[in-house]
C-alpha cells in the first residue's frame, strides 16, 4: 500500500511538473477499469487525497450483490488515499436492525451505509444530506430523474445513488418462439402465444407450460418462479402483481392509503383480485414454489426450470452467465398489466383497452453517510469514488455485483450488446425494457414511510395466510387493513401522512 502511495505521489508530482497535463489514466488500468474518466470522483482526483491514519467504517450487503463491489472499491480507495476502510457484510434480512440499533441508541457505528432504499422513511433523520459539491458532479447529474427521486427525501437528497432496481418480466424466448408450441398453445387456448401483457395472459401461459418437458432435457419444467417465502422479499412480488389492478393512473392520492384520510386501501378489490390470482398461481409453481425465497427464484428461472419469472435482475443475469445452459434464450419485458383496474373513487372497475401496467420502482440498493459520522468528507469521497464513471462502467459488466443501470449513460445499447456480450437481441430488448420502466408516467414506489417494515411484514403475513389457505384473500387483507390502521395510529397519522405525501407526489408525477 505504501509503495503504491509513493508511486502515485511521484506520478502526481511529475504530472504537476509537466504542467498537469500528463495523462495518468494508464496508471489506474491495474484496477481493472477501461480508463479513468476525469472528474471530482475519478481515480486521479482520489489519488491526490491523503486520508492516511483515518478509518472508515462501512456496512453493506452480503457478498457478492453490493457486497463485492463495496469490498473492491474499499480496497482501491484504501490504496489511493491511504485511508483504512473496514467493511462488514450483512444478509438482507438482518441489515435493517443492524443499522437501526446504533441509529436509535446514538452510537456512531458506521460512516457509510449500503441498504435498501425502501427504508429511507425510517433512516432519513439519521443521514447526512449529500453536499452540493457532490450533487454537482457529472456522475450525479446524469442519474435518471426516477432514481434521483428515490434518493431524495422531501427536497433533500440524503442518499447517494449507486444502483437502481426495478422488477420486470423474464421469459424463455426459445419457448415463446417455438412454432410447434405456438400451434399447440393456439389449439388448446384459442390465443396466440405471445409475451404476456396482462396477468391473466401470464396465468394462461404459465399454466399451459406447467409440468411437462418443454425444454427437451428429460425433466419436467414449470410455469413460473415467484418469491413467496413470507419474510423474504415476498412483499415486493405481491406489489408487482397488485399494482396492475390497484394503481389506477386516473386516481390520484395514493395506492396503499388514501392520502386524505389515511385509510388503508390494501383490502380494496384491486389488491384482493391480485391476491386471488397469486393464490391461484400456486398451481403452476415448481415443487416447493410456494416457499421460494429470492435465491430459489433465481436458481429456478436462471437454472432453466421455469418458463417465466419477475422481480429483480438477478435471475436474468444468472441466465445470461457465460456458463449458463439457457444463455441467449431469455428475454425481458415490463411487468404484465390488467385491462380492469379498480377505481376507489367511483368504486367500480375501470376498463383500459391498453393494459394498465404500472412500473414498480422496486426500491433497490442505495447508500448514505451517517449524520453522526465524524468522517463525512471521507465518506462522501468514498461514495463518489465508488460510483465514478469508470467504476460504474466496470461494475455494470459483472452480473453478480447486482449494480444495474441508473445513469442515462448506462442505457447505451451498444454497451450491453457488445461490451457485455449479450448480443443485439437480448441486449437491445433489455435496454428497451429498462427505459420503458424508467420513463413510465405511471410509477409505483415503495411505501417509504416510517415503519415500512411493519406494514410490509403484516402484508406479507396476510398474503402468506391466504396462500396457505388459512384465510380467504378478502379476509386476509381485511385483517391486514385493520393492522395497518392500528400501525398508522400508533406511529402517528400526521407523521405517516407527511411521509406518504412524498411518495404520492412521485407517483402522481407532481
Amino acid at each position: 500500500m505504501k509503495r503504491i502511495k509513493k508511486y502515485t505521489l511521484l506520478a502526481t508530482t511529475v504530472a504537476l511538473a509537466l504542467g498537469g497535463t500528463l495523462a495518468s489514466a494508464q496508471d489506474f488500468k491495474k484496477y481493472g477499469i477501461d480508463k479513468d474518466v476525469p472528474g471530482a470522483c475519478s481515480y486521479a482526483s482520489m489519488s491526490k487525497k491523503d486520508y492516511k491514519g483515518r478509518t472508515l467504517s462501512v456496512i453493506t450487503h452480503a457478498v457478492p450483490v453490493m457486497g463485492e463491489p463495496t469490498d473492491l472499491h474499499a480496497k482501491q480507495f484504501q490504496e489511493l488515499t491511504g485511508a483504512t476502510v473496514n467493511v462488514v457484510h450483512v444478509p438482507f434480512g438482518d441489515l435493517f436492525q443492524r443499522i437501526m440499533i446504533p441509529f436509535q441508541t446514538g452510537q456512531n457505528a458506521y460512516d457509510v451505509l449500503f441498504y435498501g432504499s425502501l427504508w429511507s422513511g425510517d433512516f432519513h433523520d439519521y443521514l447526512a444530506p449529500v453536499p452540493k459539491k457532490y450533487l454537482d458532479t457529472a456522475g450525479m447529474k446524469d442519474v435518471t430523474p426516477t432514481y434521483r427521486k428515490v434518493a431524495t427525501w422531501g427536497d433533500t437528497m440524503v442518499q447517494y445513488t449507486v444502483d437502481a432496481d426495478r422488477n420486470y418480466l423474464k421469459y424463455r424466448t426459445d419457448v415463446f418462439n417455438n412454432p410447434e408450441y405456438k400451434k399447440k398453445f393456439k389449439e388448446k387456448t384459442g390465443h396466440d402465444l405471445a409475451v404476456p401483457k396482462t396477468w391473466e395472459e401470464y396465468d394462461e401461459i404459465a399454466n399451459f407450460f406447467n409440468g411437462w418437458d418443454w425444454a427437451g432435457d428429460g425433466k419436467p419444467h414449470f410455469g413460473s418462479a415467484e418469491v413467496t417465502k413470507r419474510d423474504d422479499l415476498m412483499f415486493s412480488a405481491f406489489i408487482d402483481r397488485a399494482s396492475a389492478y390497484a394503481k389506477n393512473p386516473n386516481v390520484k392520492g395514493g395506492m396503499f392509503f388514501d392520502l386524505k384520510t389515511m385509510e388503508p386501501l390494501i383490502n380494496t378489490p384491486g389488491f384482493v383480485k391480485a391476491l386471488e390470482m397469486f393464490v391461484k398461481a400456486k398451481r403452476y409453481f415448481p415443487p416447493g414454489g410456494d416457499n421460494f425465497g429470492l435465491g430459489d427464484e433465481i436458481f429456478s428461472f436462471g437454472g432453466g426450470q421455469t418458463l417465466m419469472s419477475y422481480t429483480w435482475d438477478d435471475a436474468f443475469v444468472q441466465a445470461m452467465e457465460p456458463t449458463s445452459k439457457i444463455r441467449f434464450k431469455v428475454g425481458s419485458s415490463p411487468l404484465p398489466g390488467s385491462h380492469e383496474v379498480w377505481n376507489r373513487i367511483t368504486k367500480k372497475w375501470d376498463h383500459f383497452d391498453k393494459p394498465n401496467a404500472p412500473a414498480y420502482v422496486t426500491w433497490g440498493w442505495t447508500s448514505a453517510v451517517a449524520k453522526a459520522s465524524k468522517n463525512q468528507d471521507m465518506a462522501f469521497d468514498f461514495l463518489c469514488f465508488f460510483s465514478n464513471e469508470a467504476n460504474a462502467d466496470h461494475d455494470l459488466q459483472i452480473g453478480r455485483f447486482g449494480i444495474n443501470p441508473y445513469r442515462n449513460a448506462h442505457f447505451t445499447k451498444s454497451f450491453w450488446a457488445d461490451k457485455m456480450g449479450w448480443g443485439k437481441t437480448v441486449g437491445d430488448q433489455y435496454v428497451d425494457t429498462l427505459l420503458t420502466i424508467d420513463r413510465s408516467k405511471n410509477h409505483v414506489f415503495d411505501l417509504r414511510i416510517p415503519g415500512v417494515n411493519q406494514f410490509m411484514s403484516s402484508m406479507a403475513t396476510g398474503v402468506s395466510e391466504a396462500m396457505a389457505g388459512q384465510k380467504t384473500p378478502q379476509q386476509a387483507l381485511d385483517d391486514v387493513a385493520k393492522e395497518w390502521k392500528q400501525t398508522v395510529n400508533r406511529i402517528g397519522v400526521d407523521k405517516v401522512r407527511a411521509a406518504y405525501a412524498n411518495v404520492v407526489k412521485l407517483e402522481d408525477n407532481e
Binding site: 419474510d231 411484514s457 396457505a468 388459512q470
Partner: protein
Amino acid sequence: MSADRSKFVFVLPGLIVLVAIILFPLLFTIRVSFSDWDVARPGLDWIGATNYLRLVHDTRFWESFGRLALMAVGSVLLQYMLGFGLALLVWREVRARRFFRVLFLIPMMTTPVIMAVIWRTMFHESLGPVNDLVRLLHFAPLPWLSQAGLAMMSIITVEVWQWTPFMFLMLLAGLLSLPREPFLAAAIDGAGPIRTFLRVTFPMMAPISIGAIIIRLIEASKILDSVYVITSGGPGTATETSSYYIFIRGLRDFQVGYAAALSFTYLVIMAISLTIIAKVLARAMLVRDRA
C-alpha cells in the same frame, strides 16, 4: 473460615457476576415494555400497560405459543427417547463404540444458523436430496416446506438432528458413571434386560434426565434460526413460534416496546410452566427413588 461463611465464597462470585451482567438488561426490558419505543420513536416514554393490553388481544402471539408447545415438547421428547436409546446402544459391548460415540455427538457442534441453510437445501423440493430419496422409494415428491404439517415435521427433524446429541451426551455420561452394584444385584435376581432397565437403569437416570429435559425445553423454546431460515414462519403462520414472532415484532418491525412486553410475558409464562413441568417430571420419574 467456618463452613457457614465459606459457602458464600463458593456461590457469591458466580452469582454476583451473573447478576451484574444480567440485571441491567432484565430491568431495562421490563422498563421498555411500558414504553412506546418504536421504529419512529426511540426512547423511554411511559405509556403504562398499553403494550400488555395489546398483547392480550394479539391472537398471533397466543397461537404461536400453541405451536411452540407442540414443537418444543415434541422435539424434546423425541430427542430424549432417541438420545436415551442411542446412549444405551453404545454404552457397552459395541464394536467401534468410541467412533460411534464421537459421531453421534457431532451434530450438536454445528452452528444452527448455518446448518439450517444446509437443511433447507436438503428439503428443497426439486433440487434437494430428500425428495430424491422419496422418489427412489417410489413415492410422489412431498411438499416438505410448503405444507403446514410437513413444514412442522421438517423443522422438528432438524431440531432432532441437531440436539439429540445433547441428550445422548448427558445420558451417556450418566450411564457411564452409574455404579455397578445394582446391576450385579439385578443380574443375581435373574432380571432380564427390560426389567433391569425399568427397575435399575431408568430410576437411577431420573435426576439427570429431568435436568436434561428441562434445559432442552428452555433451549428449544427459543428456536429461531431454523424457523427463520427454513420456513420463515410459513406457510401462512403454520410454523411461527413465540420467539420467532417476538423476533419479527422486535427487530424486523422494530416495535421495541411491544416486543419487550411480549418477551417479558413469555419469560413469566415459561418460568411458571417450566417449574410445573419440572415438578411433574420429578414426581413421575423420581417416585421409586424416594420410596
